[in-house]
Structure formats: structure tokens, C-alpha cells
């Protein structure tokens, strides 16, 4: 496998990778497979007749990881994939996805990915998805990911969705169904600037007794960027769900935050909190009194907030 300097930097940003990852991996670049490795317990195969892969995690696989980064370094191209993850009963794995775009030209570079997860009984998954865009060109960097999660009984999934700077337009859709005694945690971190737009639409159905979900979103909107955050929890039985979205708004940005709770059972316990506010002047002053410039102080506060 040949990685150039841009590839390496993108990989490091989106997947904390320094070169080739440990464990199973599938690296996709500009619409083609660049490199793949299956392991004894984690098998990666191409889908028949359509772009995308099936990732099969054998039941009982513990402490293993899969990296499936996508790199886009060409202008004027739209990459579309459909990936399926079947995580076997009782396993415990880390899945790192993410898309890094380096758009050198004036055409748009777009990646639209659908990730479907079937997390079998009692399995645990930590899923990390980072988006990042850069490039000297004027072309837009566009990402439209869709994540579909099914948690079987007693399963647990933690989704970490991160997009910090660089992506001009994104529309993220996350849909989940949570089974009996299963738990889903979604934490989202978003920073937009310039004239970027980002939408995130999350819907979680708590369908079986003792299902639970937490959606924790933090975002910062700078310059004249715009964000829409919509999170909807549906509780149809004895279940628990909580949505918390917290945003810092700056300059002439716009943020819409719309938590939604739908209960069709008196046993459903659903709560939400949402807050949008400016950066705290007191915090800036304190950090300046410790020797930081105003800009450094603001950056420090934002970095901490989005950590």
C-alpha cells in the first residue's frame, strides 16, 4: 500500500492512525479499495454488485478493532458506499470510521456513506466517526453520512460522531432501534465556521422494556455558519431516554436545536435539555489574566468544550 503525505495526515486526523492500523482494516481512497486486511475474528468482504463492504465480527470476539477510513483527495467526485457491520453475540469491539477530504480543485468532493450496524445480543461496540476537510481548492467538501443501528437485547453501543472544521456541508442522519435491556449512547461534537452548514438528525426508538438511550451533543458555530440539530426519542414501553444539546454561538452564526420526545407509554421516562449561549466573558478574562491572548483564550475554551 502506498500512502502519500496528504493521505497520512488525513488518516492521522480522522482515525489517529500513524500509517497502517493494527487489527482489521479497509482503507478506501477516491472510490477504490486501497488496502484491506481481515483477521481471524473479523472478516471484511466487498458487497456484491454495489459499492461497500460487509464487516463480520465473529461472536465472542473481544478487544479487537476495525478501521475503515475513507480518503477523498480528488476534486469533482462523489463517492457513495453502503457498509454493513454484523457484530456477533457477546463480542466487544472498537470500530473507527471517518472521512478525510482534501479537495485540491474547484469541483465538489462528496462522500455519502451509509453504515448499518446490527449489534447482536449482549455485544458491545464503540464506534468513532470523524469528519475532516481541507484543501487549497475552492471546491466544496461535502459529507452526508447515514448511520442505522439495531441493538439486540442486552447490547451496548457508544457512537462518537465528530466533525471539527473543514467540511462545507454535511447532513448526518442517525437512526437507531434499541432492544430489551440494551443501551445506546450517542455523543456528537461539531464545530462549523465560515459559511458552512451542518445538519444532524437523530432518531432513536426505544422499543423494548428497559431499553435506554442518551444523546449528548455539543457544538460551536462560528462566523456565519449554520447548524441544525434535531434529536428525537420515542418511548413505547418502560424505557429511559435523555437528550442534552449544548451550543456556543459566535459572530453571526445560527443554531437551531430541536430536541423532541415522543412517549406512547406512561412507563417511558424521557427528558431533554438544550442550551445555546455565547462564550463566557468571565472565562475569557480569567484565561487572559493567565497570560493568554483573547484569541488563544477563546480557542482554549472551545477546545475544552468540544473535548
Amino acid at each position: 500500500m502506498k500512502l502519500n503525505a496528504i493521505d497520512e495526515r488525513l488518516l492521522e486526523t480522522i482515525a489517529d492512525l500513524h500509517g497502517v492500523p493494527q487489527g482489521a482494516y479497509n482503507i478506501r481512497k477516491n472510490g477504490d479499495l486501497l488496502s484491506r486486511l481481515s483477521t481471524q475474528n473479523i472478516e471484511i468482504v466487498s458487497k456484491d454488485g454495489k459499492p461497500g463492504i460487509d464487516v463480520l465480527v465473529r461472536p465472542g470476539t473481544k478487544n479487537e478493532s476495525v478501521h475503515i477510513p475513507v480518503l477523498l483527495t480528488a476534486s469533482g467526485m462523489t463517492d457513495l458506499v453502503y457498509n454493513t457491520f454484523d457484530v456477533g453475540e457477546g463480542s466487544d469491539v472498537l470500530i473507527v470510521a471517518g472521512c478525510g477530504i482534501h479537495n485540491p480543485g474547484s469541483g465538489a468532493a462528496e462522500h455519502d456513506g451509509i453504515h448499518e450496524f446490527i449489534i447482536r445480543r449482549g455485544a458491545r461496540v464503540r464506534y468513532v466517526e470523524k469528519h475532516y476537510g481541507e484543501g487549497e481548492g475552492t471546491g466544496e467538501r461535502i459529507l452526508n453520512p447515514k448511520t442505522i443501528v439495531t441493538l439486540e437485547d442486552g447490547a451496548y453501543a457508544e457512537l462518537e460522531l465528530v466533525q471539527i472544521r473543514g467540511v462545507d456541508s454535511s447532513r448526518r442522519i442517525t437512526e437507531a432501534r434499541v432492544g430489551r435491556g440494551a443501551k445506546l449512547v450517542i455523543s456528537e461534537r461539531l464545530l462549523t465556521h465560515g459559511r458552512q452548514v451542518a445538519d444532524s438528525i437523530i432518531s432513536v426508538a426505544l422499543e423494548a422494556p428497559e431499553a435506554s438511550a442518551e444523546v449528548l451533543a455539543r457544538s460551536v458555530a462560528q462566523d456565519s455558519s449554520r447548524q441544525v440539530f434535531r434529536a428525537s426519542l420515542t418511548g413505547a414501553t418502560k424505557c429511559r431516554g435523555h437528550v442534552a444539546c449544548d451550543s456556543i454561538i459566535m459572530d453571526s452564526a445560527e443554531i437551531r436545536s430541536l430536541p423532541e420526545l415522543i412517549a406512547t407509554s406512561p412507563e417511558a421516562e424521557l427528558t431533554h435539555e438544550a442550551a445555546i449561549g455565547k462564550i463566557s466573558g468571565e472565562q475569557v478574562i480569567k484565561l487572559m489574566s493567565l497570560g493568554l491572548t483573547e484569541k488563544q483564550a477563546i480557542d482554549t475554551i472551545i477546545t475544552g468544550f468540544l473535548r
Binding site: I285, K286, M288, S289, G291, L292, T300, T303, G304, F305
Partner: protein, 258 residues
């Protein structure tokens, strides 16, 4: 030397009327000395500290540090010149850990991992009685108790190690044992710093007595300044301040609770 020369700071009282928060204040602080500022609540002590740190800007007057006019320099510049201020009400930070704040205070990159940085950071925590193992990784957010946060505020001052250190009620909210420690740390630090100036805003007798000089502030003015042993009895018995602190002599209401 730090000199405040005929400074007035104005604000508004919330209903649009202009008020003088500091009213033609002059004071000077010599290197090598520890000063205590006391006086009734609302007298202008915190405002004077904010003026020195550059947080409040004067509408008239000058601030001089070693004869250099620093009236127009901003907060960052003053921090860089060696002025430090430990807030009366410390600020909470979500997302920043105790060790991040100490590293920033010490002028080191956030998240810096060099061993020397870590050892330093841990030392400052231990000095204020916060065990590094329990506190270094905690967020400096709403979950720290009032006294813990106050101790962190003082640890940041020690990490910063400024030439002019202003502590705003370091005793407020800290437990008896930590108080003893802070009193000792703050006074010893000044003793070991020949060109340093320590200013402690306080309502505590022990801090007043440990200082070289005391300033009494009320109504946005410095009413008295002098050697601690001379001035302490006068301040304790100050009729005007007692009158102010008891709402113009209306003690009847308080008597109901006897």
C-alpha cells in the same frame, strides 16, 4: 513599585444611573511588602484589584508600574508584565481539567506531558492541599466544591508566580486547616520574593496582622493606609465602617434574632 494615581472607575447601577465604583483613588505599593485591603462589603476592594489586572478601565487617572505607565495595556499584557489576580469568585470551566488550567497558568501548553511540567503542576496542587491523584484529571466545572475551586484558584496563582500577586479573599470558603496552610504559603512566598508585592483583600484578622501595611476602603475610596500594627486597632474600631456595615445604625432588625 505599583502606583495608582487619582483613578476613577465608573459604572452604572443597573437602572441607567452612573456610579463611581472607584472615586479618585490614589495608592502606592512598594516592592518587598505585603499589603492587606479590607473594608465593608461593596467598598471597592475587588474593583481596585480588577483595575490593577486591567479588567476594569479607568475613566480618569493613571496606573504606573515601576514608573512605566500601564494604564492602556490590556489584561494579557499586564499578566505578561507580572501581575496576577486570584478571583474572589473563581470561574468554572467545563471541559478544562484542573491540570490544563495549571499548565496554562504556568505558561505551558495545554495537555503538555513533559515530566517536569507534571511534577510542577502536582506540587502546586499539594501546596494548596489538593491531592494530585484525586484532582489533576478532574474538570474544573460545576462539580468542584466552592472551597476546592478556591484552592485551585490559589494554586494557579502559585503556578503563575507573578511579581505582583493579588489574592481576593483567599480565606473565603476554605476549611480551617487549609486556611492555616494558605496563610503560611502566601506570607512565606512574599518573604522570599524581594521585589515582589503581595496584596491580600481580606476580612480576616490573621491576614491583616500578617501584612506589612493595611488599606481601608469604603465608598470607592481608600480611607486609611498605614503600618499594620498601628492601623489594625483603628480599623477594628472604625465607627464609620461599623455604621455602614450595620445599614446606617439600624440594628433593631438584627436584634430580633438575639
Amino acid at each position: 513599585m505599583l502606583r495608582i494615581d487619582k483613578v476613577t472607575v465608573s459604572g452604572d447601577n443597573g437602572s441607567g444611573e452612573k456610579v463611581e465604583i472607584l472615586d479618585n483613588v490614589s495608592a502606592s505599593f512598594d516592592s518587598g511588602k505585603m499589603y492587606a485591603i479590607t473594608g465593608p462589603n461593596g467598598g471597592g476592594k475587588t474593583s481596585l484589584a480588577k483595575l490593577i489586572m486591567g479588567i476594569y478601565r479607568p475613566s480618569s487617572g493613571r496606573i504606573l508600574m515601576d514608573d512605566r505607565d500601564i494604564t492602556d495595556s490590556n489584561i494579557t499584557d499586564r499578566a505578561m508584565m507580572g501581575i496576577g489576580y486570584a478571583f474572589q469568585n473563581p470561574v468554572r470551566f467545563r471541559g478544562l481539567r484542573v491540570r490544563d488550567l495549571l499548565n496554562i497558568a504556568a505558561g505551558q501548553e495545554m495537555g503538555g506531558t513533559r515530566t517536569s511540567h507534571r511534577e510542577n503542576m502536582e506540587r502546586f496542587l499539594r501546596v494548596v492541599g489538593l491531592c494530585p491523584r484525586d484532582y489533576a484529571e478532574r474538570e474544573a466545572d460545576g462539580r468542584l466544591s466552592g472551597g476546592e475551586l478556591k484552592r485551585l484558584e490559589i494554586a494557579m496563582m502559585l503556578a503563575r508566580d507573578p511579581r505582583i500577586a493579588i489574592y481576593d479573599e483567599p480565606e473565603a470558603g476554605v476549611d480551617l486547616w487549609t486556611f492555616e496552610r494558605l496563610l503560611e504559603v502566601i506570607t512565606n512566598r512574599q518573604k522570599n520574593k524581594k521585589d515582589g508585592i503581595t496584596i491580600v483583600i481580606t476580612h480576616n484578622e490573621r491576614f491583616l496582622k500578617a501584612s506589612d501595611e493595611i488599606l481601608l476602603m469604603s465608598d470607592g475610596r481608600i480611607q486609611q493606609q498605614g503600618d499594620a500594627d498601628e492601623i489594625w486597632p483603628m480599623i477594628r474600631d472604625d465607627v464609620a465602617c461599623r455604621w455602614r456595615a450595620s445599614c446606617g445604625g439600624e440594628l433593631d432588625e438584627a436584634e430580633c434574632y438575639r
